[in-house]
């Protein structure tokens, strides 16, 4: 009985890899779609996460630079003294936020499934 030949195993293996890759990529549905940038509590702009760009947000201390790249966003430059929002690094998950208090600028990722955070409880 040669129901399955060597090549068949190869094809099945390849197909398994494809299925695995597809499953690992499905996170997409729950991923954030948009970046909400606030200035002084008001919405400054809301832009798509899927288009790479740089947004300059003028605040009371100077200009904060928000960079959107490859489905993630971060504050690249901020005039604040402690640089907390810059050191927060890339925001990737829905609900992730970076807040530059001194310059009154905040960046938040919207859309997809929000993860729980301690503030929700």
């Amino acid at each position: 009985m040669r129901l399955i030949r060597i090549g068949d195993w190869l094809v099945i293996l390849l197909a398994l890899v494809v299925v695995g890759l597809l499953f690992s990529e499905t996170g997409h549905a729950g991923r954030p779609q948009k970046v909400l940038i606030r200035k002084g509590g008001e919405i400054f702009t809301e832009v798509s996460l899927f288009k790479d760009r740089k947004v300059e947000v003028p605040g009371p201390l100077g200009v904060s630079l928000v960079v959107i790249s490859g489905g993630a966003a971060r504050v690249a430059k901020d005039p604040g003294p402690r640089q907390y929002c810059v050191r927060q690094g890339w925001l990737r998950n829905s609900g992730d936020a970076a807040i530059c208090l001194p310059n009154q600028v905040s960046v938040e990722l919207l859309g997809g499934n929000k993860r729980y955070d301690s503030l929700n409880y």
Binding site: L3, I6, D8, I12, A15, V19, E25
Partner: protein, 181 residues
């Protein structure tokens, strides 16, 4: 009753094709009778027939059987020209194209299981593409892709094994001249 004056001579091959297509249609009824949790996922048992026909009579006959199955099957199900019909047709065409490409693989190492899995993947890719570009142009559609792919792998392997089993039985019996009943 007036006898029809139009005579369509049917060749031996025509009879084979229609028998096989009828068998395939019968199997698509089995498909439809099996409830599955994910909408759009079907075992595709009719493809066992296509695989066997492909191995026995070649791609040309397999194309006939496959397309006849889609057409006549849709008439029986009452889904002719419905979105489901076009999805099925697109899947069948993609499968056949993939089977054509897969015929380049050496027979010695790649059997019915390979062809079945390849065709199953071509089928779901074709269907997903058509569904995306024609019915639901939303990225969310592709979040179904992994489930379709897993089903394609599972049912592709199973159907391939069944087809390989029948083809193997035939070899053992070694009755090359017997016409198909």
């Amino acid at each position: 009753m007036i006898r029809s004056t139009i005579e369509i001579p049917a060749t031996r091959e025509d009879h084979h094709v229609s028998r096989m297509a009828a068998l395939a249609i019968g199997l698509s009824f089995v498909d439809a009778a099996i409830p599955l949790p994910v909408p759009g996922v079907k075992p595709g048992f009719a493809n066992i027939v296509v695989l066997i026909v492909l191995a026995r009579y070649g791609l040309r006959t397999a194309i006939w059987v496959s397309l006849l199955r889609v057409l006549a099957g849709s008439l029986l199900f009452g889904s002719f020209l419905s979105p489901g019909f076009f999805l099925g047709l697109c899947g069948a065409l993609c499968s056949l194209a993939a089977l054509f490409l897969a015929s380049a693989l050496p027979e010695k190492f790649f059997g019915a299981v390979s062809r079945s899995v390849i065709a199953a993947f071509a089928h779901i890719s074709g269907q997903l593409m058509l569904a995306y570009f024609w019915l639901i142009p939303h990225v969310g559609l592709f979040s179904l892709a992994p489930f379709f792919a897993a089903a394609a792998l599972l049912f592709g392997t199973v159907n391939g094994l069944v087809a390989a089993h029948f083809l193997e039985c035939e070899k053992v019996e070694a009755v090359p001249q017997v016409p198909i009943q």
